[in-house]
């Protein structure tokens, strides 16, 4: 426990304190302010839980979360089982497709589905043309649409966790059950599924928390009575109605508290329930079944069905991006590059901003993440677990909470928000865990003996780091770098509160173009551009990291 380690830890804590703890505590403090008297008290909270409207939004959000979790689970369990257990061709490509939504911006899906499933979208028009229906079916406007769109976005989290679980189960457990005479279904529900619960929970909690974070999907669908959308409207539309602003902040704090406590609860539960097998010989591939023909066909149909839904997003957006006024036509007829001309000529700043802000955030992320991972894995500095804990907690924080807290905290006292550096800083804080987790797991995989050997041979610690550790870490770190960049690139919930004229990023541009009404085509084109950029980045990662599955979620199990 050298002094260097301690001072490094102190420095990292200082950064955490300034960029995470200070703004978030500012947010909490602000929520206790009373607009009428200028004093302090819990009356805002009392009002929040007494007002039928806020209660309704809270209830709506909880209901949506539950429905979302149910839907993703019902769809995810068979999917994960198929992916993990069945031997079939095209496994990699299906896995990649089904996991794709993780890296696609959440709002991209909404635009695609409005175009495809809208009242006069492709499906409805086709159905009407064939005379199957008289009036358009409402596919997406309403709670069912929200569940559909959000479920598709969150499905990978369930599938990833579960399929990892299915793969890692020691086959001997199931075989034992089989020998004892348990039927297939009984075995699945009594042995296989319980053994997977810890890995399922890790994804499930993220799914459950998503409706507390996603304000844009409800807003675009015109269903605003959900907690994050209401807080967005309260804070972004009513700057001067101080009371409403405080109520909005209360809503943010409430959702943050819900998120954090559920996250911690799940973590604690997973820790407690971790099953430990006593067997030794597990095959790396797990148990793989060669299913019968009808099952195989069924599995393929099912996977193709999900894959098509996922693929709809880039395909529909691509079509929309290269056409203008795609209305009342099942497929566009008027092809043009006008959308891209408008984006590239009139607002090239958006693309530049996106790259510059995400890039600078990435520099911060690396500068913070590498030493932090080193501290957490390799040293015994006091407080390193707490450091890990705080950083992981950022995963559960709604983006809105970070955006609002930055706006409040860096406005008067420390006027950072008047300079554009606030944008990359906020992105850095919001995406903090992504790089760190990657660096963290790479460090874990790096055998200490290599470093020790280097030091024994007389190399200094720094020399060891640059000549031994870094090259060995490089692969994991690079995957982390790209993942961090992708996540920062598509971030909107935080940035939307902080941007000013000239600082717009691509996601904000998409939001503004949608909000301005007639620019649906441009918004779609921008979303398509983002998807293309993300694809290219992913390709790079898969080259480095090997396997698109890994690329999508780093090293899988966290």
């Amino acid at each position: 426990m050298s002094r260097g380690n301690i001072s490094l830890a102190a420095l990292l804590w200082l950064i955490i304190a300034f960029f995470v703890l200070y703004p978030l505590s500012y947010l909490v403090v602000e929520s206790f302010k009373i607009s009428a008297t200028g004093g302090w008290g819990i009356s805002n909270y009392i009002e929040f839980f007494k007002d039928t409207y806020y209660l309704k939004t809270f209830g709506n959000t909880l209901l949506l979360s539950t429905l979302l979790l149910l839907t993703t689970t019902v769809f995810g369990v068979p999917l994960a089982y198929i992916l993990a257990r069945y031997r079939h061709r095209g496994k990699t490509i299906f896995t990649a497709l089904i996991l794709l939504p993780i890296v696609l911006p959440a709002f991209a899906g909404v635009f695609a589905f409005i175009i495809f499933f809208g009242k006069y979208g492709t499906i409805n028009l086709l159905l009407m043309d064939f005379g199957l229906i008289e009036e358009p079916i409402n596919f997406i406007y309403g709670r069912h649409g929200l569940v559909f769109i959000q479920a598709l976005h969150m499905l990978p989290f369930i599938v990833l966790g579960l399929s990892a679980g299915f793969t890692n189960i020691d086959p001997s457990f199931e075989e034992a059950a089989e020998v004892e005479g348990a039927s297939g279904i009984r075995r699945f529900f009594t042995i296989t599924l319980p053994l997977c619960t810890p890995s399922y929970m890790a994804g499930a909690v993220l799914v459950f928390l998503w409706p507390f974070t996603d304000w844009l999907t409800p807003l675009i669908l015109g269903q605003v009575d959900y907690l994050p959308s209401v807080s967005y409207i309260n804070i972004a539309y009513h700057f001067t109605d101080v009371h409403r602003k405080y109520m909005g902040i209360v809503a943010v704090v409430v959702s943050a508290v819900v998120c954090i406590s559920l996250f911690l609860l799940a973590r604690w539960w997973v820790e407690r329930r971790k099953y430990t097998g006593l067997s030794k010989g597990t095959t790396s591939e797990g148990r793989v079944i060669e299913p019968s023909r009808p099952v195989k066909i069924g599995a393929y149909v099912y996977m193709i069905f999900i894959a098509i839904l996922v693929l709809l997003i880039p395909i529909v957006l691509g079509l929309a991006a290269f056409s203008r006024r795609w209305v009342f036509e099942a497929f566009p007829t008027h092809w043009t590059l006008e959308n891209f001309r408008l984006i590239l000529l009139e607002s090239p700043g958006l693309i530049k901003n996106s790259f510059v802000f995400s890039g600078i955030a990435l520099i911060f992320g690396i500068a913070f993440g590498l030493p932090a991972a080193y501290l957490i894995v390799r040293t015994r500095v006091p407080g390193r677990d707490a450091l890990d804990f705080v950083i992981t907690l950022m995963l559960a924080f709604p983006g809105i909470a970070i955006g609002v807290s930055y706006l409040l905290a860096f406005w008067k006292g420390i006027p950072l928000a008047t300079h554009w550096i606030i944008m990359p800083l906020a992105l850095f804080a919001r995406r903090l865990p992504y790089f760190l987790r990657m660096a963290h797991s790479s460090y874990l995989q790096l055998d200490t003996s290599l470093e020790e050997a280097s030091e024994v041979s007389g190399a200094s610690k720094i020399r060891t780091f640059f000549h031994i550790s870094l090259p060995l870490l490089l692969k994991g770190v690079l995957v982390g770098v790209v993942m961090f960049f992708i996540m920062a690139f598509q971030e909107i919930s935080t940035a939307i509160f902080l941007y000013r004229g000239g600082w717009e990023t691509l996601p904000i541009g998409i939001f503004l173009n949608w909000h301005r009404g007639m620019e649906f085509g441009i918004a779609a084109a921008m979303a398509f551009l983002m998807i293309v950029i993300t694809f290219i980045l992913l390709l790079i990662v898969s080259r480095i990291g090997g396997g698109v599955l890994k690329a999508a979620w780093g090293s899988g199990e966290q």
Partner: protein, 481 residues
């Protein structure tokens, strides 16, 4: 030792990041600057941006850097300026109608400036103010509050376009209407003000409650309304600036506007913000905006030009592309030649109750939307039952009185829960009368709250379940053998 160097590395990387700042920030130091804030549409800001940059370069031999912020509709923009509290991040308040500018004037957030060609804009029109007599704000792009409909979709649904405000309440349009909230859009606010001043307050709130039951949803802004209507997602959009139909038609959308029988002029105006950091450039911009050249860029930005000495037919000859569309959309050669049924509009009253109206609408209608619809639908259902009982020669006077009370509670008082209760009582009364005659008849159960049909999800769920169940059963069977 190693950590020291590690720490130094971190510092270096951070420092590098910080060093980038002045480099990137310093790029744009050379040009003059001007900032606009306001709710105008993108086409206008883009057109003015282009025109003013050219003009500035030509006249002053320098570049001008323009920033434009559009935080939202008028009320949101006004709030933004309020939040700046006299230290604005912009110089010009670009757009929004008279009430917004009056609010800013009263709160001392704008300063008077008389642009050079100020005289070319009329002082008032049909009793409505077009510019401020004390030079605080001047209209540069007048328009009229209209409603919008999608020709193609209405035809497909076999619905005639509604002609008047009251037509919109027809049950056949239910679920095919959309509008936004008055706090999100100035146009919606003005539409409510039209109803308040044109029909009287009680009647207006009654109307708004009934209209809310017709909506398929609330949009998030008047531009969102335009988009939804143009794309046909909801075929009728309430409270739209007149030029939106022109712009959408030019883009090829089958959209038409309806001038309702009662409406007002909205003088889309411009003002100089108090404490503007680039006041001199701001004044140059205002002078240019009202010049013949500036007004052409206004029209090219798909807004109607405000000068009285403009003839669209002349501009058409000069090659102003939008002049043709404007002539076609308005049917006259200058905006000021329009003949419209205007109400008598009290601007002072509108300014005074600006926030109050927005709040009332939100609290009484928007936040209780679900309750409102449930209540009205139940009342309508029971009214139907009473009518049916009446047709069977039953004496339903008591029930009729009760249901009338329920309607009054709903329409006038906005007491939706109480109205529901009264309606249920009316149902009980009428059911008792009917039951007395025919003991077998039973009262229908109370209407269930409206449920959204999760048809799609349901189908998917069943499909997935079926597939997975079959897969599992077969798989396990197979393994057993």
């Amino acid at each position: 030792m190693r950590k020291k160097i590690l720490a130094t590395t971190i510092f270096t990387v951070f420092a590098m990041g910080l060093l980038l700042l002045p480099v990137l920030a310093g790029q744009a130091q050379a040009a003059d600057k001007i900032g606009w804030v306001g709710p105008v549409y993108k086409e206008l800001s883009a057109s003015l941006n282009k025109g003013f940059k050219e003009y500035y370069k030509k006249t002053y031999g320098k570049d001008v850097e323009i920033t434009f912020v559009r935080p939202g509709g008028w009320p949101v923009c006004v709030d933004k300026v309020r939040a700046w509290a006299g230290k604005p991040d912009a110089d010009i308040f670009l757009g929004a109608g008279a009430p917004a500018h009056e609010v800013l004037k009263q709160e001392g957030l704008i300063v008077p400036y008389r642009p050079k060609d100020w005289d070319m804009v009329p002082a008032d029109w049909h009793g409505m103010k077009v510019k401020d007599a004390e030079d605080y704000w001047t209209c540069f792009a007048p328009w009229i509050v209209t409603n919008l409909y999608n020709e193609k979709v209405l035809k497909k649904l076999r619905l005639p376009p509604p002609k008047t405000w009251n037509d919109l309440l027809d049950p056949m349009y239910r679920g095919n209407v959309v509008h936004t909230l008055p706090y999100a859009s100035g146009t919606m606010h003005e539409a409510i003000e039209i109803l308040l001043q044109g029909f009287g307050e009680e009647e207006a709130w009654r109307y708004l409650r009934l209209l809310a039951a017709q909506l398929s949803r609330f949009s998030t802004g008047s531009t969102d309304t335009t988009q939804l209507t143009a794309r046909g997602e909801v075929p009728m959009g309430i409270a739209q600036p007149q030029m939106n139909a022109m712009a959408a038609r030019k883009d090829g959308f089958p959209v038409k506007d309806l001038l309702p029988e009662k409406t007002i002029l909205v003088p889309e105006a411009v003002a100089l913000l108090k404490g503007a950091p680039n006041e001199a450039v701001g004044k140059i911009f205002l002078d240019w905006l009202f010049s013949m050249e500036g007004q052409k860029y206004v029209l090219e930005g798909r807004y109607f030009a405000a000068r009285t000495d403009i003839k669209f037919s002349e501009w058409e000859k000069e090659g102003v592309e939008m002049a043709t569309h404007a002539k076609k959309a308005l049917g006259v050669d200058s905006f000021w030649d329009l003949q419209v049924d205007f109400i008598e509009y009290d601007l002072d009253l509108a300014t005074k109750r600006w926030d109050e109206v927005n709040k009332k609408y939100e609290m009484e209608i928007y936040r209780k939307w679900g309750e409102l619809k449930n209540s009205l639908f139940l009342i309508e259902e029971i009214e139907g039952e009473i009518e049916a009982a009446k047709a069977l020669q039953k004496d339903v006077t008591a029930a009729e009185a009760k249901i009338k009370e329920a309607r009054k509670l709903f329409e006038i008082d906005g007491a939706y829960a109480a109205a529901r209760l009264a309606a249920t009582e009316a149902r009980a009364v009428s059911a008792a009368v009917v039951a007395a005659a025919a003991p077998a008849a039973k009262a229908a159960p109370a209407a269930a709250p409206e449920m959204q049909v999760p048809g799609f999800i349901l189908i998917l769920l069943i499909l997935a379940l079926l597939v997975s169940v079959v897969a599992f059963i077969v798989a396990f069977k197979r393994r057993h053998h």
